[in-house]
Symmetry: C2
Subunit: 389 residues, 2 copies
């Protein structure tokens, strides 16, 4: 189908693509990393800080926001943009992954999923239709279809069944989305008229299932396509192979979103295979656990070797944390359990991710992506040098 | 004694004073509120944020920093300013109050205090001399003498004995400080050569004891004087009375510091009685507990009445939190336990305190302090108006 989605490919380098995705609330330069703002907040920092770090788009979550504070409340506030006071683009995940990873007493049927809220045990229900209605009320620029996410590892027949059900759900979700757009569901608020819907390809690590899922999802037709069900524990080489195999079959003219990926290396390897959009909790979650991403690989700030280290976390980094603070001070904050440890580490890690994406985009424009990637990986694999304390 | 302390009184209005205190790392405009940065960090926000909020000076704590990360480590990093990368003024409390409120298995003698660390139970010892040595190594602009802080309420003989011991400790601390300044204690680092030492007047709520403490402390001689042992649970009217009674006997030409105060009302009432410097955990601690200070009194953001409230916490406030976010969003963040709830609430509360001090300083300059104070107190006592949700 031809949706309202504008995606201009401004440069190519091998399979890597440099694009410009125009959404209702702004332009997203791709390849892009989307910071995760599960509960309408990026954990550890404020939206002023997310903005200053240069994020074009933030991801929020249907499952979490439906449970608290509720999509009705957010719709009454004028939608997620108004509620958060975030003026750039937003994407809402459909909640499928969270229902399967967080909810308890989950009963899955062709209709959808009935489950208990992880917050208070209240019985809830998500279906392909209701996930779309919730996302319509939230009004992110991009909504995602509701899918069934098998855990990894799983046997091929189970993955095949989930993939087939996901296709049937894709059509139901697409139909409901079009009904809402067409005004046939008047009781569902629609704060972002330009909202677009992305499909999700499933099929685990089975290439035959991925092929069938691509064909079926394209047949339903979405404004763009995501690859779900990867980055869930499978070996990284297998992830890269399946992601590349799947991406090659997705429309060249539409952005391709690898959901839940990943490490800095994952991002480079996936860009090299033609992926454009990414999200992952790693930079924010690991920040709160004291792991800082650097050009020379991850650094665990609680390590005693940093107690007297006057260097910034990454001497080559221009983020506010590295411009001001030493490893010694950051270690002290972390050991003392200060909130500012989480803030400063999150600022650094998100800057590192967003800045790496900026470098990737430039490299693609200059036709030097392969060289950039090799140099990045070489340095990243060195690890932190031994230093005197 | 005539220390290196420069304190210019630029305006007076009744007993209220508008001063300019020049310390080694910068000028502090008084009356001033000093945000509390106990462990070399202001809880809930980064030093970039503290700086942007306009704090001239931050307070850190001898007891906490001695235990972790240790004053030796901080001295090796070049002192507290270098360790924190904070270029403005710092003041270190002596640790007396913390030893008496936090440490366990405390044994008090004329020599000092032997206690167990609240972190790991390790045996530690603080004396008037060691508290000065630790503070010399930390190198704040202002060090505080080590005092004995009786809890409230206490009988007059006990308060008198503590006050008398505090006077003997004052002389011992002063002597050690001068020995360090004079180069007679070469093994103690001194990263801030212009460091000054403030004395502390004790005596509880007994005016006679306060009078004796003032005389004795002035006799020892310090660059300036603080009033300790108030804001520890006594009725506020008694606190104001004793603070005013004591302040009137302190040198007019030196700043007067009321330790541990207080609420916005406490600050106004104390400025009206000639006090110049204040510190308190209220704005930061209460922020983390969801209490926001506003012109119309405190606001508990977790209250259900704010679930759909699109107003900022204080509609008359120009802080980054109020400029961007609604009570509804802040309530959601608080209920969800997001770190950004602590950040945004702390930014607002500290801005409110620092901005109130700016207004106080201007009012003194204009000779309108009494009118400002009355209007502030009238509005503050109104409380939050009832609104439709």
């Amino acid at each position: 189908m031809d949706g309202p989605l504008a995606f201009d490919l401004v440069a190519r380098d091998g399979l890597a693509r440099r694009g410009r995705l125009t959404l209702a609330h702004g332009v997203v330069d791709t390849p892009a990393f989307m910071p995760v703002g599960t509960r309408a907040a990026v954990k550890g920092i404020t939206l002023d800080q997310v903005e200053a770090l240069g994020a074009d788009i933030v991801l929020a979550n249907t499952y979490h926001l439906h449970l608290r504070p509720g999509d009705d409340l957010i719709a009454r506030a004028g939608g997620l943009h108004a509620f958060m006071h975030w003026k750039r683009a937003l994407l809402t995940d459909s909640g499928g992954y969270q229902v399967f990873s967080l909810a308890t007493r989950r009963v899955l049927s062709e209709d959808g999923v009935v489950f208990r809220s992880h917050l208070d045990g209240a019985e809830c229900r998500l279906t392909p239709e209701s996930a779309i209605e919730i996302q319509s009320r939230l009004g992110a620029d991009v909504a995602m279809m509701f899918d069934e996410c098998p855990s990894w590892p799983a046997e091929e027949p189970a993955v095949a069944a989930a993939m087939q059900r996901t296709l049937r759900w894709a059509r139901r979700g697409r139909d409901r989305f079009e009904a809402i757009v067409g005004g046939a569901v008047p009781d569902v608020a629609r704060p972002t008229p330009g909202q677009v819907l992305f499909g999700i390809v499933q099929g685990g690590t089975f290439k035959g299932l991925r092929d069938a899922s691509v064909r079926g999802t394209l047949d339903v037709g979405f404004e763009a396509y995501a690859i779900g069900g990867l980055s869930v524990g499978e070996p990284v080489d297998l992830m890269y192979e399946v992601a590349g195999h799947t991406a090659a079959q997705l429309p060249d003219a539409r952005p391709r979103y690898l959901m839940g990926a990943g490490t800095p290396v994952d991002l480079l390897e996936s860009v090299a295979r033609g992926l454009d959009l990414f999200d992952c909790v790693l930079p924010t979650r690991n920040a709160r656990n004291g792991q800082l991403f650097t050009r020379q690989g991850p650094l665990s700030i609680k390590n005693a070797r940093y107690a007297l280290d006057t260097l910034p976390p990454d001497p080559a980094c221009a983020c506010p944390t590295c411009k001001r603070h030493s490893r010694a001070y950051l270690r002290h904050l972390f050991m003392a359990g200060e909130i500012s440890a989480s803030i400063l580490n999150t600022v650094h890690n998100l800057y590192f991710y967003l800045d790496t994406m900026r470098s990737i985009r430039k490299a693609i424009e200059f036709g030097t992506f392969e060289a950039f990637k090799n140099e990045f990986l070489d340095t990243y694999s060195l690890g932190q040098p031994e230093r005197d304390a």
